[in-house]
Structures are given as C-alpha cells and as structure tokens.
C-alpha cells in the first residue's frame, strides 16, 4: 500500500513538473499579446520603416483632458475602466518630450548654421578656431541628446498613443445615463406571437426559404432570396425620396480606418482580416480587412483625408450591399440574428458643425426616413435611444430600431442610427475650409436595416407562411408569395 502510494506520489510529482512550463506561458500570454498590439492609425517612429503612414490623426486631447470631471463621469457611464489621471500625466509628459525635441532641433539647426558660417571663412582667427572646436563639442552633445529623445519618444508613442487613441467619443447630452429610453413604439406585439413559438431556423427550413448551416454559412432560397433583393430596392426608393445619394463602395479596408472607426483592428473576432494580401508589407500593423461595402468603414474610406467644399454640406449618402462581421467571442450563435454576412442598408450623413442646429435636424430627418422605411416593412417596431453603457466607443448617441422576436422572447435590433460628432473626422482628417482655417465636420451614420434579422423576425411572427409586406411584394420579381 505504502509502496503504491509512494509510486503514485512520484508520478504526480512528475506530472506537475511537466504541467508547470506548459501552463505558465499560457497564463501570461494575454499580457504578451497586449504588448504586441500596435496602432495602425498612429504609426510610431520605430514602426515607420515597416509601414507607411498615410495620415496622422488630429489629436484634441488637450481639450479632452481640460475637463477631467466630465471625462471621468462619461467613462464611468460607459463602464470603461481607464486610469485617466495617469493617462493625462502620460500625455502631458509626452507633449513635454515633443516640445523638448523641438527645442533641441531648433538648437541643432542654430548651431549648425553658426558652424557653417564659421567654416566658410578662410581667414579664421585663433579665437574663431577655438569657437569652432567648442561648437563641434556642443553639436555632438545636442545630436546625442536628440537621438536619445527620439528613441524615448518612439517608446512613448507605442505606450501613450495607443492608449489615448482608445479613449471613447464624448457623450451626446441626449444620451440617457443609465436606462435606454423608448422614443416611440408603433403598433403592438399581437397576442398570437405568444402561441406557436418556433425558431426562425425551423420555420425557414420547413418553408424551404432558408438553409442555415452555421453563422459563416447560410443560404436564402426561393422567395427569401427575392425578398432580400426587393427590400434593398425599397430602401433605395425611400432614401431616394429623401434626396440621399447611392454609393457602391469597397469591401476592403486598411487597418487604420478600421481602428479609426473604433474597432480593434488586431482582433480577428472584430473584423475579418485577410491573411495573404500582397499589398500588406511584412510585419506591418496596417493590414487588410474585409468589412463590406455597406458599412461605416466603407463610407469613411470615401472621405478619408479629404477637404470638403463647405458649400456642399450636408452630404447625404446611403449604400445597400454586404456587411461582414465575425461572430464575437463568447457570443452564442443565434441563427440569422448573428450571421457573419448580411445584406444591409447603411446611411451616412456629414454635417458642417456638431454644435449647429443642423446637426440635430439632420439626425432627426434621418430617423424619420428610417421610420418611413419600417412603416412599410412591419406593423410593430420600436425606436429606442440607447444608454451610455450600450454605446460603441466611437458613438456619442445611438438610436436603435427594434422588432419583436417571439422565439427569443425579446426585441432585436434590426438597424440603428448613430451620431459621431467630429470624433471620426478628426481621426481620419476629414475636414472643410473655414474663413479662418480648417475645421472638422460631424458625422451621422448607421446600418439602418439588416435583412437577415428582419427576415428572421417576420418568419417568427408568422410561422405558417411567409407573409411579405405589400410594398416589398410589389418589387419582388415574381413567385407565388402571399401578401398581407
């Protein structure tokens, strides 16, 4: 017995020894990953050889840090845990280093100039020779200092800029602090929704409308496929009436735009990253992503680093097409509600000044257009203004359009409209000329409608047959659909 226990103890001891090195590196891995993170929006000096910086964002953090109370409060409302006191002092230190570098550079050019003028003289006195010697020593020291400070700034770049660029947008005064507010509710959920509750995957499959394999792969068949096209055509019709211009953009984007739009560009669960794009330099943090042509990023691409003629505001665009988004980590797959590819409609409005009345007017106008769209699509939906904690970091205000999913027994966001103030335009140098210089316009944008989500709710609300809203049925090319 003792012998067996002894042998078992030894075996355990060996197992532990084998396990330790296996586990410890894995436990510490997350911090390692963090250290490897590098911004693509702000290319630090020591990455510049790997990656070409197309722009460097406009940094307004002096203003942001001027009101620490407000910043602190807003971060708390967003439930983000950032040590802003430390960040502020890091920022100030960084600023000081930059100022020091500039002073050194000035000094360097002054001394160099002096030295050159002395060298040009052919008849130097002994005194001047002495001065030249002194200058050489001074220049050596200044250049050494410059080199040191440049390297220090590169290190700081990585640390400070990456953290500072992750600071969220300011909150709009209208954003509710704690609880989301239902702005309006059209119609009501019929009692019949409570009976006969089936998932849209079941219903879709049995009606031969849907072939769902996993979040990465699903097919819409028969009238569902025609419905998808027709809904997007209807969106074009509604937005055309609101004098919005249709755009068909690009599906790919470099990392810096993805990062500027508030997504983690290094996380393969935040956007799809292309592994073998031949234009991406080896080791560059500025990679290529697949986002889809009907997305915020695609509209930002059109305007990145552009100076807009101020007479043309407001700019009003929309797009219908694809949006690609991986299923976020730890999210439970839920049929068409969480698919990675969706046909959507996306709106994008640029207004001159976030402080003007126009900003609010245009926001409300867009909400009205989207409401008109939903009036044609369903009998019951509600419009909800999201609370601070539910916002994306880049949003200052978000209004969702929700429909009822009888199976999930909850409202599901089908689309949204968000206000971004000038957060995105500062990061991507989207500007316009003013009489006194340049300023950054405000952006209002949102995926106003996701077809797979709409389809899922419509299916669940009528499990026995596919009821196509009449306005859409008009546009469906043919088929034996049933209209309400």
């Amino acid at each position: 017995m003792t012998n067996k226990l002894y042998r078992f103890t030894h075996a355990l001891q060996r197992t532990c020894r084998i396990l330790i090195p296996n586990i410890h590196p894995r436990i510490f891995l997350p911090t390692n990953v963090k250290r490897n993170y590098s911004s693509a929006l702000y290319i630090s000096g020591n990455k510049a050889y790997k990656s070409f910086a197309f722009l460097s964002p406009y940094l307004d953090y002096d203003e942001r840090f001027a009101n620490m109370d407000k910043l602190h409060k807003e971060l708390a409302l967003r439930r983000m845990n950032v040590d802003i006191v430390q960040l502020k002092s890091a920022w100030n230190f960084y600023r000081k280093m930059i100022a020091d570098r500039c002073a050194l550079e000035d000094n360097n050019s002054k001394l160099t100039g002096h030295k050159r003028s002395l060298l040009e003289r052919t008849d130097r006195t002994a005194e001047q020779e002495q001065e030249l010697k002194k200058l050489r020593i001074q220049l050596d020291i200044v250049r050494q200092d410059l080199k040191t400070i440049k390297e220090a700034i590169w290190d700081l770049d990585e640390d400070v800029m990456e953290r500072i660029l992750k600071l969220p947008n300011e909150l709009d005064p209208k954003t509710p602090a704690n609880e989301s507010i239902v702005l309006k509710s059209i119609g009501s959920a019929p009692e019949s929704f409570k009976k006969n509750r089936r998932s849209h995957i079941d219903i879709g499959t049995s009606l031969d409308l849907l072939d769902y394999k996993n979040p990465m792969c699903y097919y819409l068949c028969n009238n569902a496929a025609l419905f998808e096209l027709a809904v997007l055509t209807h969106v074009s019709r509604v937005f055309d009436e609101s004098n919005m211009i249709k755009m068909a953009g690009t599906d790919f984007s470099r990392s810096f735009v993805v990062e500027a739009s508030g997504l983690n560009h290094e996380d393969p669960m935040a956007t799809f990253i292309i592994e073998n794009h031949n234009e991406v330099e080896r080791g560059s943090p500025n990679r290529m992503h697949l986002v889809g042509s009907a997305s915020l990023v695609s509209f930002l691409i059109l305007h990145t680093r552009q100076l807009i003629n101020p007479n043309h505001f407001p700019l009003k665009y929309f797009a219908t097409g694809r949006q690609y988004m991986p299923l976020p980590r730890d999210t439970h797959a839920c049929g068409l509600f969480t698919v990675c590819q969706a046909s959507v409609a996306h709106a994008f409005v640029v207004v001159k000044d976030a402080k003007s009345e126009e900003y609010e007017t245009q926001f409300n106008k867009l909400l009205e257009s989207v409401c008109r769209l939903y009036d044609d699509l369903c009998d019951h939906y509600r419009v909800v203004m999201r609370s601070a904690s539910e916002l994306q970091p880049c949003e200052s205000l978000r209004v969702s359009f929700e429909m009822w999913s009888p199976f999930a027994n909850q409202y599901i966001e089908i689309g949204h409209v968000s206000a971004y103030d000038n957060y995105l335009s500062k990061r991507l140098l989207i500007a316009y000329q003013t009489p006194y210089g340049r300023d950054f316009p405000a952006i209002i944008s949102g995926t106003v409608l996701s077809v797979p989500r709409l389809l899922a709710c419509l299916l669940e609300q009528n499990p026995d047959k596919f009821v196509v809203p009449p306005k859409i049925a008009e546009l469906m090319l043919s088929g034996d659909y049933i209209t309400t």
Partner: protein, 433 residues
C-alpha cells in the same frame, strides 16, 4: 509520505484548474463552427485514369491544358496502397477531359459568331474611367493606400445603374426558369480547391486569418458557394436540369499591371450574377448551348456588340471540359473585352463534391455541372457606358434599364460634393502645454 502525497495532489489540482482556465477561448471557437463541414471523399474515375491503356491520352490532355498533373506518377502510385494519400493528391491535380472539337485549336480561340455591330460615333469616344470620373459618378483616385489598389467607388446614378443591371438580369434569368439563391461570399478553402481552382504558386484566392476554427477564403465566384450548397445531395431525375442563379460579391487576388487592364477592367472585388446548372450527362451539351444563348440574349437586349469565342485547351480551367467566352466591344478602349464565360465541367465537380441524381431506372449517377456569367458588373458597365456615351460626354440609359432607373434616361454630372486631398500635419509643439 502522506504529507508529500497531499502536497503534490494539491499542486496537481491547482495546475489542473489553471490549465482549464486557459481553455474557454478555444472551446468557444469550437462552438462557432459547431457544424463543421464534412467534405465527402472525392470519387475519381480511377478505373479509367489508372488503366495504363489510357496513359497516352491522359498525358496528351495534360500537356494541351495548363500542364498540371503527372499521370506517370499516378500510375506508379496506384498499386501502392500505403501511399494512398499521395495518390489521391496527385489525382486531385488532374484536369478534366477536353471536348474533342477544341483539341486542335492549339493556343488560339475560335471565333464562333458575332452579334450586333460596332457603334459609330461622330466624335471621339471617351474611355469609361475618364467618362464617369468626369461625371463624378466614380472615384478611383487616391484609394490605394486606404482600401487597396484597384479600388473603386460608384456614386449616384452609376451605383443605381449597377442595381438596375442586377435586377434586369435576375428578371431575365427567372423567365428562363432559374431560381435565385442568396449565397455566402466566404467559404472553406477546400471547397474552392474541389471546384477545380488549383492554388499553385500564383495566389488567386484571398485567405482569411485562421481564427474561425476552419480554413476560410473569399469566394471568387458564386459558382463555388452554389456547389457548396449541393454537396452530398442526390436529386430525382425529374427535377433536372436544376437551374440556380446568385448575386454575390466576388474577390480575386490576381494582380496585373498590364495597360490593357487599366481602370476597372480587372479589379479585386466586384458584384456578379452567376448561373449554375446541374444536368443529366446526356443533356449537358444542350444546356451548355442554352446558357450561351441566354448570355447572348442578355447582351443583345442591352444593345451591345459582342463575339462568341470557343476557347482552346490551354485557356481552360482544370474543371472545364469546354468553355465559351463572350467578348463585348468597348468603343472607348477600342477593343473587345471578356464580358462573360460559360463552362461545362461535366462530372469533374460532382465527383469531388458528391452531387448525384437518381435516373429513371433507379441508379445514382454523378450529374454534370455547368456555370456561366450572366452579368459581371465592372466590365458590363464599361461596355454599356462606352457604347451609350453622348457627344456631350453623358450616358444614355439603355431602354430596357430605364424602368429600373426610376424613369431616368440620361446620366449627367452627379451632385457629389467637391473634395480634394487634405495635406496637413498637426504640430503638437505649437499648442499650449
């Protein structure tokens, strides 16, 4: 002794629990692709391929095609069961057989017919890119560093023309009995390989960062996604031919700096309407002809001048048995450009993806698959806009598309805001500290 045992047991338990903590990330990824795709084992026609009598025929076929595959190696491996894996790998590289009619074409396509006539202008026609950029209907400048080279953005009426073309094409295809399917644009790399796109040194396909638990790539055509849907299915004979159509985004990594391919002639991403047909083997030649007729009708009805080319063996992809290309006249470029192609893949894809049908007699047999482009947007727009340009450098909307363009008959200068590149670098040192 007992004390030591307890100590090690405790340590073991601690390590075990911390080991478990490192796991959740992996298990959640497994959840994502809980329904992993199970591809069937390809069923090559080994009876024919491994018969030494056929060696010369196969060898010559390989030589005429793109010279990929090694029949001697296959014959050598065929009786070595221990090298089964290598054997199957070699078999997968073999191209399809070639239609006897095209074998002697060498490297030159054969012109089958021409339709319509070259449009005549009493002015110098502009090229597409210049024409539509001047109308502010497209932007291609300065997009490279932001979205990749050869990126383009359609604005206003040109974006609407794209939508109208898709609607028109689908409407016409439905008249011919096609069923529309909405397909995924991201599919498993293996499906792409099974469809006959051999990924050799040249990278043709964009791969995604391998995070999704499976190896995914961007589909170059809806044909692959449609074939993916039919994996491991058997259809009754009276359901054939199965005619499917899909609108999808297509992604192609192939790069080219040829002057011929300037503007948006060869791009990395575009929208395309694709036709995909499964038929009984005895019907596939007829269906192949039908597909070509449908394409011809589509282009004729939009008033385009084009020619149909029968492609030589050296131009066939490994899955194709025969391929027709339709080349449309692009008056601004003053040359013909490929608008669409149509391939008969016989049982090449169905053997690799297990797509069968039940004959009248009750046997299960591999189907023939065929595919053809109904409308590839960028080139279609080039041909249309260049053909329909007016003296004042505007674009007339083709008659058939007017109702789908909300009655618009002429594309004029678009009300797009003026923009120019913003050269600016913030000087942090100048502001107050």
């Amino acid at each position: 002794m007992k004390f030591r045992f307890e100590r090690y047991l405790k340590q073991f338990c601690r390590l075990r629990s911390s080991w478990l903590q490192t796991l959740p990330a992996e298990t959640s990824e497994k959840n994502v692709t809980s329904q992993k795709l199970c591809l069937p084992q390809p069923d090559y026609d080994t009876e024919f391929l491994c018969n030494p009598k056929n060696r010369d025929a196969i060898f010559n076929n390989i030589k005429r095609r793109k010279n990929i595959g090694d029949i001697d190696k296959i014959l050598e491996l065929s009786d070595k069961p221990e090298k089964q894996k290598l054997f199957l790998e070699e078999l997968s590289k073999l191209p399809n057989f070639t239609h006897p009619a095209v074998i002697d074409y060498g490297n030159v396509p054969k012109l089958l017919k021409q339709c319509g006539e070259k449009v005549k202008f009493d002015f110098e026609p502009k090229e597409f890119a210049e024409l539509v950029t001047d109308l502010k209907a497209m932007r291609i400048q300065n997009l490279g560093p932001i979205a990749g080279q050869r990126s383009y953005i359609f604005l206003g009426d040109l974006a609407e023309l794209e939508e109208a073309l898709i609607q028109y094409t689908i409407r016409e295809l439905m008249k011919h009995g096609f069923k529309l399917i909405s397909v995924p644009d991201i599919i498993q790399t293996e499906v792409i390989e099974r469809c006959g796109l051999i990924t050799d040194d040249r990278t043709l396909v964009y791969n995604l960062d391998p995070c999704c638990g499976d190896d995914y790539s961007l589909s170059g055509t809806a044909e692959m996604s449609l074939a993916r849907k039919l994996i491991n299915t058997t259809f009754p004979y009276d359901k054939l031919p199965l005619k499917l159509a899909a609108v999808s985004r297509c992604y192609r990594a192939e790069a080219s700096s040829a002057l011929d391919e300037r503007g948006i002639y060869r791009v990395h991403q575009f929208t395309k309407v694709e036709m995909f047909v499964c038929s009984e083997p005895c019907q596939s030649e007829k269906v192949f002809q039908d597909l070509q007729n449908i394409q011809g009708e589509l282009f004729s009805s939009l008033g385009l001048h084009f020619q149909v080319m029968d492609m030589p063996p050296s131009d066939l992809g490994s899955s194709a048995y025969r391929k027709y290309d339709i080349e449309g006249w692009m008056p601004g470029r003053k040359q013909y450009g490929e608008l669409s192609s149509c391939s008969n893949c016989t049982d090449y894809q169905s053997r690799r993806l297990n797509i069968k049908y039940k004959t009248k007699e009750g046997n299960t047999v591999y189907m023939h698959t065929l595919n053809g482009t109904a409308c590839a947007i960028p080139r279609m727009l080039i041909a249309l806009c260049e053909t329909y340009q007016t003296k004042h450098h505007r674009i007339t909307v083709p008659e058939k598309l007017v109702p789908l363009m909300k009655g618009k008959t002429l594309i004029k200068k678009q009300p797009i805001a003026d923009m120019r590149i913003y050269k600016y670098k913030q000087k942090l040192n100048l502001s107050k500290t």
